[in-house]
Amino acid sequence: MKMAWKEMVKFKTRYVILGSIIFLISLLTMIIAGLANGLSYDNASLIKDIPEGTFYMEAEAEGLYNFSGLNEKNRAEIKEAVPEVAFFSIQMGELESEDGKRHGVAFVNSDGSLFPRVKEGETIVDDSLMESAIKEDEGLTNRLLDGELKVDTFVEQQKFSHSPVAFVDRADFDEMYRTDEYQIAFVEGEDAPAVAGLERYTNDEFMNTIPSYSAEQLSLNMIVVFLFIISGMLFAIFFYMINVQKIAMYGILKAVGVKTATLFRMMWAQMAIITTISLILSVGLSQLLALIMPSTMPFMLTAGSASMMSLVFIIIGFVGSSVSGIQISRVEPMQAINQGGV
């Protein structure tokens, strides 16, 4: 450890360069992961905030919630199997505020046990609509609805498919969409029974039925994975270059009896020091960014996610440097003795 530190201090420039690159890559990875999480939450916070459980949709809908319809018979069957079932429907639509502006929303109607209860003629909306100057008690209209929906209150972070959610009563929902069926049933817990004619989905599976959700997440997660791979290769290449320059020294140290494991430990210590310093800086800066980023830019990076990513970086650094360290085990003392040296 002492030798590792001494070398880093003596040849600061090369290690500062590597540290800077690792810092930038890890910061970029954390920013993209934060955006992926933020977008995911912005896309589906309505579903993300539901506890883990099982969603039921009509099998014929083939995973498209807006094509699903649970009739009286289906609902009775599920209720008989699991009495604590909750039913709800989601439809994309719009609301017009008093100033004449139209706002895209996701109407959600439930039987009341999973989402907030709403009286007929009223609505509870996501607080992002406050930014569009919508106020409590304001009357909102919809072309498919005869009356008004008065804003009862606002709820925090309830979005679906990037649209703010508007919870409405069943009567208002039926009037707008001419249906008396619920689309989805939800049962908390993993042991939900199978029901004939219905398909079961986990929370993650259900989220992937949201249009654009999986495509969006897949692209961002792919970038994150590539950044991890790049950083691993960077470690391998950097330590390879450094090790090539130190072949003679390693040979002599081996000749005088230094164990190969000691030389590996020296390299791992250097990797751990560089990675730890870089990660402390990038986690700190990414948390700062989370505080100062505008609300229009969805960014969410919890301390838990940041720690998990840091751990992945350390493991990748360890693997990358170890792969390049294979050279160390191959160095023959005679090779170094026959060369010149300091």
Partner: protein
């Protein structure tokens, strides 16, 4: 009783289309506490003999017995442990670690030999050996700031700081001028006498031979008749 004995040692280097026998059945005994010099023309096999005796490369046939143990029968880890604890090495070039000070070079060797010395004992030993090689004043210097002769003196101090039984020196004066060469040879003799260290040395410089107790003349992979 010899500290190291070589019996029927052979070494053949093989390449794709030819084989070259460099050592052809060497028999040799090294007496404890003496300086033995291996000398001979270039290609006579003296450096190969020294490096095999020091466990730095394997022989093709024959045995090497060090303190009643067959070095040639040991595995890599056992040989490495012997090199770390009982052997010291001085090469043609000093080969110091560029990012360690003079004092740290010696500490590294003590750590490698896994010595259980107290902090005070370590300091004392470092002071004593650096005084002997006249490098105490340079204890905080890095190799890059030292002259060739100074580096070689540090290399010698590093080779003996852990009190090895044997010191292997492969042309230790080859990169130095004649004045510095004599200083290094005097130093090796002092160490051998004061610390009872057996020295096996390769040299092709005649003036350094006067410091040897035994001179072994090598020619074409065998020990010549001019043994002194």
């Amino acid at each position: 009783m010899p500290i190291l004995s070589v019996d029927g040692l052979e070494k053949t280097f093989s390449s794709a289309n030819r084989e070259e026998k460099v050592l052809k059945g060497i028999n040799l005994e090294i007496t404890k506490g003496e300086i033995t010099a291996l000398t001979g023309a270039s290609g006579s096999g003296k450096s190969t003999l020294l490096t095999i005796a020091a466990g730095l490369q394997k022989s093709t046939a024959g045995t090497i017995i060090f303190q009643n143990e067959a070095l040639t029968d040991m595995n890599t880890r056992q040989v490495q442990a012997i090199r770390a604890k009982k052997f010291g090495f001085v090469f043609q070039h000093a080969h110091l670690v560029p990012f360690l000070t003079v004092q740290e070079q010696l500490e590294l060797m003590m750590d490698t030999a896994e010595l259980k010395w107290s902090k005070d004992r370590r300091k004392e030993e470092i002071r004593s050996i650096l005084d002997l090689v006249d490098m105490w004043g340079h204890r905080d210097s890095y190799p890059g700031t030292l002259s060739g002769g100074e580096k070689q003196r540090v290399a010698i101090a590093r080779a003996v700081v852990h009190k090895p039984e044997m010191l292997f020196a492969d042309e230790p004066t080859a990169s130095l001028d004649s004045k510095r060469s004599m200083e290094v040879m005097k130093l090796l003799r002092t160490l051998s006498r004061e610390r009872n260290i057996t020295v096996l040395m390769v040299t092709h410089e005649e003036e350094t031979l006067e410091y040897a107790d035994t001179i072994v003349q090598m020619k074409d992979g065998v020990i010549g008749k001019g043994l002194v």
